[in-house]
Symmetry: C2
Subunit: 247 residues, 2 copies
């Protein structure tokens, strides 16, 4: 049985004694029922992973002794940012979870004309904090030592210049019907260092948005079937990572 893994942003140097974040401490003591002396692994969310031993676990929190560094799961060689229009209800949660699992470097939530939530409502609902917790949880489950950044939600097209910064090349997923879309298979991009995948909301992009997006990069389609909005990112990321040698 492999050791339980915890997210410990303070982990950096062998020999340190560090405090686990409250959520992680709860997971360690209440769910897994671990206590002083138990061996675990920790990752700091920035790519480092260590062996560790529970030093104390009580009402003041869980302290760990950081042991030897260990080899984390390799990160993808192409750092893909997912620029995803915020979906309805809790569907964005699943997209964040899946995108972290399959290996994105960052997630940029975007608000488009047909997105059914405003920037203000996202802020009031602390949705970005929620997506960050989901990203941590998914990184724990899939074995990544990196927790992808959840960037500040932005309007698309941006209201001011410079607005949104998206790493190049940008690949924009469009519906099978969009005239200027080409199949992903014909995308002529040899393995880049970075890339951005843009995915629209349930109702799709408006004509203005397609126009703005076409100035940023390639408009691509994914086959002849209509994919569910909350599955588009996982399908497209899987295909892009495969094309660029990850699988």
């Amino acid at each position: 049985m492999s050791l339980a893994r915890f997210f410990a942003p303070a982990a950096g140097v062998t020999g340190d004694r560090i405090l686990l974040p409250v959520d992680e401490a709860e997971h360690l003591t209440r769910v897994l029922r671990l206590s002083a002396g138990d061996r675990v692994r920790v990752f700091n969310g920035r790519g480092a992973e260590f062996e560790a031993v529970v030093d104390t676990a009580d009402r003041s929190g869980v302290y760990l002794h950081i042991g030897a560094p260990c080899a984390p799961a390799p990160e993808p060689r192409v750092a893909i940012t997912l620029a995803q229009a915020v979906l309805k209800g809790d569907k964005m949660d699943g997209v964040v979870r899946d995108a972290v699992m399959v290996g994105v470097a960052a997630i940029q939530p975007i608000i488009t004309a047909r997105t059914e939530i405003s920037l203000g409502a996202l802020t009031r609902g602390r949705r970005r904090d929620r997506w960050e917790r989901i990203a941590v949880s998914s990184a724990k489950q899939c074995g990544r030592a990196v927790v992808p950044l959840i960037l500040e939600p932005q309007l698309f097209p941006p209201a001011e210049t410079p607005g949104l910064r998206l790493p190049s090349p940008v690949v924009v997923l469009v519906e099978p019907g969009v005239a200027s879309g080409m199949s992903l298979g014909s995308l002529d991009v040899v393995k880049p260092d970075t890339a951005t995948l843009m995915v629209g909301p349930e109702g799709g992009w408006t004509a203005d948005e397609v126009h703005a997006a076409s100035a940023l990069g390639a408009l691509i389609t994914l086959g002849q079937r209509t994919l569910r909005a909350d599955a588009m990112a996982l399908v497209a990321l899987s295909v892009l990572f495969a094309r660029w040698g990850e699988f």
Copy 2:
């Protein structure tokens, strides 16, 4: 706005007057509130799609007049069967939904040593009927005119010979740790007519199962991260379809 689509297995000949299945009739009258004279589209689940007009909609059911045939969304050129170990709770529902969306030809549920449900319990719970309804619903949503077959669940390895029939070539998804696994990118299969993708349960394959599977086809891995059991099929199918020119 595109016309609503309904699953009508009896649709086959222009000019016929056919009865919609009860579930579809409910959807037409109660959810979409359509009635006599409204135009719709129907697909028969075997690849044909037609324009149609509601003739009568009352307590005796919904009858449609079948109009001109129309071009369905093209089916994938490679007919992939997904042989998926039945997952816990309702997770298999999501796998069926996603696999139909991305384009499988058939789904073969399998029971392995670490599957937490028996063949008897699947039968008593009418799970296959449920998966068939989910396949219909997903075909409606994604625009397919074919409803993939949900095959009778089978043991793996089969208890008797001949047991399970899986279209060749067979590709078996294994965890990153399995010694004889190779990356999907190095799979040397030019676009076949058929193929089978085998995906294990939450707890993975046993050593005996890996041995049995290696006699059937190639053991392949999908990157260095641990994918969730209910996401493996969608990721692997996306990559296989992309490799074989679908996207």
